[in-house]
Symmetry: C2
């Protein structure tokens, strides 16, 4: 068991690591050569350009101004300075609300920590149970519930505190839910005109032998909705998208050779090989070769475009249907269209950049089956992932490899290689799996058939949270692989399970404190350094970047990654709530994590991350629900712990807590959730009326014409280009016509995460 | 354990009872004096009148025509003859679909019985396990799974059969769900014009300091819905309703005295006492007294009506909002109206006669709290109801009463009274509780705040089913009160529970066979006899009936009582599915129950029951869901049984079954359920268009004007009077104006069950 000194040492090491990361960041960010790593958001917004001072060559790469080093910590006040409305404007509501999760952590845990240090710690400390006992124990445990003797009336304090913490958490959660719902509705109300406000995604259009899909859709909605305006069928353009991608690559090579030729004063035409990666095959003139390639691809693309547009097989039974008013779109999205509720499924259209095109054509029956398959697969992934890992680890055993691959024998006999394989390989196999996990979960969500990136991320986040809960949290509390735990729980009675968990929890406090420091403190500080991105950018910049466009792509600002980040935060909420009553000493560590992460991520959101989509904080019900789950779990574990403490007369008072909490959750769900899934007709009508009064002659049909065309049909310019429209505001919209949608290099690339 | 002979004897007794009931019914129904008991539905429809033959006096009471006795069983073919469409027309879709539950039982269990008798019974029979064992066992058990030796490979047959039964049940369920959904949509489509098609119930109208509720509603919907037509606020007329009821009673007494006075040739004016029940107080002239009373009440009613109409406190924040088209009503019912999703709650208006007026004004927060309270109360009712019962039983102990009430001592010392109290009282206390149970559950649902009778009944049915499952089914399988079971299950591990239940199930087969015969066969045969109604009618007719109106009320046809009947049928589904694999000999008994009940209830629905409301078979999703629950439960119990049989290698194959069944349930829910909760816009539009083409100048506003007025405001004529309108069909509707709504004595009385 760890003592205060152990914890102090660990804390010192981790604080040092974090400080090193922060100082490194503070210095590196001042170098002009790293500007694109630490401020890519501004480049994408077109508000910053490559630092090309007129000064010395070296100043292009290194900042020699000593004054800026003095103020090396000023990024913190700067990150905190931007007010929330400006932040929403700058990085979207999703990011702003994401930051509120950290604030929520502070709001919940700071008063809880104060209260528990004032009341619980003295109550625990003034016992002698552990000091008198023969068992080894840490000083930390003197501050925890373990120090209270069995059957002591002092446990009433813990029960009262459990009530106080629950009420406080629920109060903060409710306030926050109301606030976020309000922010979302305000955001939607203040937003300019956007195509998705008028548009509904219709899936499972029934086949009609006499009519094409677009005709069927048009007729159906003309008959059933008075405000129908226009529709856009969805094409299966996956092959086309590949060809366009290929052409883009060839075009890039062509630009590169052209540049090279021009730089060499047109003296020597560059040559290349036609084979694999230009390494083998016959040598040809590079520029001619690329020109031929591009021409071939252009022709193929044209043919494919023709085919996709005319081949009925390439038209998917889905369409984006637009209406004349927001009111009509809200009505269509919220109602059932036909007798058969699995046909003509309508839902709000995602933003154009948020659409996940591949999933738009999955029929209803297939969706049910896919959901079943993924459900079963996820169950096995969560509980049995250790089995294949162990198998691979045993394969990576040195004797096994030596037998199967005798020609490597010489290498394996080298002591360094041998010890490396034996010592690190098993760990690396597990680490690789854990790194791949978000990708695997994302693939699962894609297979399940969600139509937008935002819903894919939300689904993956739920799964990742469950995986973390089972394998990280429970796996640490009750030592053992998940399937062993499953077995234990199956063989234990319902009232034993909370006891097992409850009794194990106080013993793991020091482990989790270390975990918070390593994963939380140092991890967050590492995030701001962007070491991986830094190295890759410089490598790419030196070796691969051929054109200006390449440089922009090498910048890779990344995005918020809700599907990875949010479940990790949730783990801290879980730890905080579980340990608040049991070992209150853990709370300050969590508070430091939330505060540090808030500052770091606020900085990253302002300066680095690129927004991939805007869902209007649609993830908040999930965040809220998971905190409620953590709360209920903490109540059961406290209940279990107290019943092992022979405090049986107190325990029944805790039973009411989960019931009240679950009722509270139902209440919140009914009260606020619909703000995240539906658009009230009142709001829609109000906006329609306002807009109509302002611009009675706006041509909506022209505005919507190309909004939901598959990106590959937009030719070279693969941005959707509607961002800028909405940024220009309402008043200028009258002049926006589709032909103007060019040269908008600085808008975010569409759906980078979709492939 | 029962042998074949025991079962045979029990069967003989029960068959005899059932036959006696049926014969008694066949004879009694032919007597003219009982005509109103056995054919009240026709009286209510106005298609049958009191049998007043011109013949002898005795023939008014006894049927002397011997030929009708020869054909005494012809009610059966007659009950079966009426085709389903006519039945729907005659008794409503609810009744017709309710009968399909019995048919569904036959469809599921007849093929299952055949298959299991061909395959399972021989497989079980050709073992010698039980014959060789020393244990006492019944011959019945030779046919059951108990006869298969431990670890025998024959268990594979049972697993294959479990799969076959599951697939067959799911297939039948899916077909039936599709059929019922189709019937419902057809029914809604073919129906004539009804007020509820155009109307939406709006609850939780926010208070406005400057406007009355009706103004607020009108303004809100005028702004937000283009097709708004009219609205009707809900008044809190509970006191008024009481006064009207009181006046009706006094009026009835007045008619009685008037009649008496006239019959006595105006010789002697009847006199009455003014005190309690006319038994004490000063003697006055009865007719004058009643006239004065009626005048007083009329005045009070007038005042109260004025008050209710003008007092803002009597106006509840709820309204019935009507639209110009069905399309607009469908839109309004399915969408969210305002930013705050707990205000302006809209849902389809129930039929006027289905409205439960008392519940229309409950605010949202109160609903959440009420749901919590009832949830907790129901939990205690289900698991701990035996505790107060035992307490009352102990109070009813003879020594206890004697001590507390020494003046009864003499009575208690009589041996007959003593043995009666000791022997019967405890049983009677329990029986009284069980008889009151549906009323208690109905009260709970009312407290929870559902706005219509149909939803109240559906909710009560769910609760009654859970109560039956825990206390009747599990209580019989695992002997012991519910709270003891709860304790057992809490202390058992998750994988032990199915084993405990599974192992106990085969042993209870003979008990349940007897139960089916007593409760099912004899109970259903008793239902057709209507003994209670018969006795009460004749008693009332002899002593209480004063006027023709009284006689009509004494008829009391009853109604289908979905909240009691359906959970009882579900118990048979549960038994059938659980025992299909284990003890297939039980199936024929269940089949006989379903067949008998089908015939009996078809007869009752045609001739007796009065329809209280028409929900359009809205209960089917519940019926379907409960059968699925029974199926999943049976799979788990089979799994548990097989794992106690040392057939561990087979058991894992059964795990897939519940997963598949639950997926099937999700599929069905998505595919069919919305047909029962939403109205597709396509349907609404189609009907609007048709109707507009047929009657372009129909005045809908006049038609809807009084549809949703509280019944007490309709004055003397307390029927809603819209039934007849819809029965007249579309073509005549043009001439229907509200002033014609009188003298419709034969339409069903409104909401008898609502008080």
């Amino acid at each position: 068991m760890a003592t205060f000194a152990d914890i102090g040492l660990a804390a010192a090491i981790n604080i040092l690591t974090a400080v090193i990361f922060l100082v490194a960041f503070a210095i590196l960010r001042l170098q002009p050569v790293n500007d694109r790593i630490y401020f890519p958001k501004w480049y994408l917004k077109g508000l910053r350009d490559s630092p090309t001072h007129s000064g010395a060559f070296v100043r292009k790469f290194v900042n020699l101004d000593w004054r800026s080093y003095v103020r090396f910590l000023n990024w913190i006040p700067y990150a905190l300075k931007m007010p929330e409305p400006e932040l929403i404007n700058h990085a979207g509501l999703d990011s702003a609300v994401y930051l509120r999760i950290y604030l929520l952590g502070l709001k919940i845990f700071v008063p809880m920590a104060l209260l528990s240090w004032v009341i619980l710690v003295p109550v625990n400390w003034t016992n002698n149970t552990l000091r008198r006992s023969e068992l080894t124990h840490s000083n930390i445990d003197n501050l925890s519930i373990s120090n209270v003797p069995l059957g002591s009336p002092r446990f009433w304090t813990h029960i009262v505190m459990a009530y106080a913490f629950t009420f406080w958490t629920c109060y903060v959660l409710k306030t926050e839910y109301a606030k976020v719902a309000d922010m979302r509705l305000k955001f939607l109300a203040l937003e300019g005109r956007r195509p998705d406000q008028y548009t509904v995604l219709v899936r499972n259009v029934p086949p009609d032998p006499d009519e094409s899909v677009s005709e069927t859709v048009e007729h159906f909605f003309l008959v059933n909705h008075d405000h129908y305006l226009t529709s856009q069928v969805v094409n299966n353009a996956n092959k086309l998208a590949k060809l366009v991608e290929e052409k883009k690559k060839q075009q890039n090579w062509f630009d590169y050779y052209q540049l090279k030729y021009l730089r060499s004063n047109q003296s020597k035409r560059p040559r290349t090989k036609t084979g694999f990666l230009g390494l083998c095959g016959t040598k040809v003139d590079a520029i001619d070769h690329q020109t031929a390639e591009i021409q071939r691809l252009s022709k193929e693309i044209e043919e494919e475009q023709e085919r996709v547009k005319n081949d009925t097989k390439a038209i998917m039974p889905a369409a984006f249907v637009s209406f004349k008013t927001r009111w009509a779109a809200a009505v269509c999205a919220q109602t059932q269209q036909s007798r058969n509720p699995t046909l003509w499924l309508t839902e709000w259209a995602p933003e154009p950049r948020d659409v996940y095109w591949e999933n738009l054509a999955i029929p209803y029956v297939s969706l049910t089956i896919r959901r079943l398959i993924i459900g079963v697969a996820f169950f096995f992934l969560t509980f049995f992932f250790m089995i294949p890992i162990t198998f691979v680890q045993s394969l990576a055993n040195i004797e096994g490899i030596r037998k199967k691959a005798p020609f490597f024998k010489a290498i394996f006999d080298m002591p360094f290689i041998k010890s490396f394989i034996q010592g690190f390989l098993p760990g690396i196999v597990l680490k690789i799996f854990l790194m791949l996990l978000p990708t695997i979960l994302m693939f699962m969500s894609k297979f399940e058939g969600f139509p937008s990136l935002s819903s894919l991320e939300r689904r993956s986040a739920s799964r990742y949270y469950i995986f973390n809960f089972v394998n990280v949290f429970l796996g640490s509390v009750i030592v053992g692989a998940a399937f062993e735990q499953l077995n234990t729980f199956l063989h234990q009675s319902a009232n034993e399970i909370p006891k097992t968990i409850g009794a194990a929890i106080p013993m793991k406090a020091t482990f989790f404190i270390t975990y918070i420091m390593v994963d939380g403190w140092a991890g967050v500080a590492g995030e701001i350094l962007r070491l991986k991105a830094l190295i890759i950018f410089h490598l790419k910049n030196s070796f691969l970047v051929k054109t200006e466009k390449d440089r922009e792509e090498a910048m890779n600002p990344g995005s918020l990654c809700f599907n990875v980040g949010e479940p990790q935060i949730q783990l801290y909420f879980l730890l905080g709530l579980v340990y608040a009553v049991v070992t209150p000493i853990l709370l300050p560590f969590i508070i430091i994590f939330f505060a540090l992460a808030y500052v770091v991520f606020r900085h990253q959101i302002i300066n680095v991350y690129n927004q991939e989509y805007e869902s209007g904080a649609a993830f908040w019900p999930d965040v809220h629900g998971r905190i409620i789950f953590a709360l209920v779990f903490s109540q059961f574990s406290t209940l279990g712990l107290l019943s092992t403490k022979r405090a049986a007369q107190c325990a029944p008072f805790l039973i009411a807590l989960p019931i009240l909490t679950i009722t509270f959750q139902y209440y919140c769900k009914g009260r606020y959730e619909s703000a995240f899934t539906k658009l009230p007709l009142q709001e829609a009508k109000m906006k329609d009326t306002l807009e109509h009064a302002r611009e009675p002659h706006f041509n909506l049909k022209v505005y919507l014409k190309n909004a939901y065309v598959h990106p590959v049909f937009k030719g070279k310019d693969d941005t959707y280009g509607y961002d800028e429209i909405s940024e220009k505001g309402d008043l200028e919209e009258g002049v926006v016509v589709p032909t103007k949608r060019q040269s908008r290099r600085t808008t975010p690339a569409p759906s980078q995460g979709s492939n």
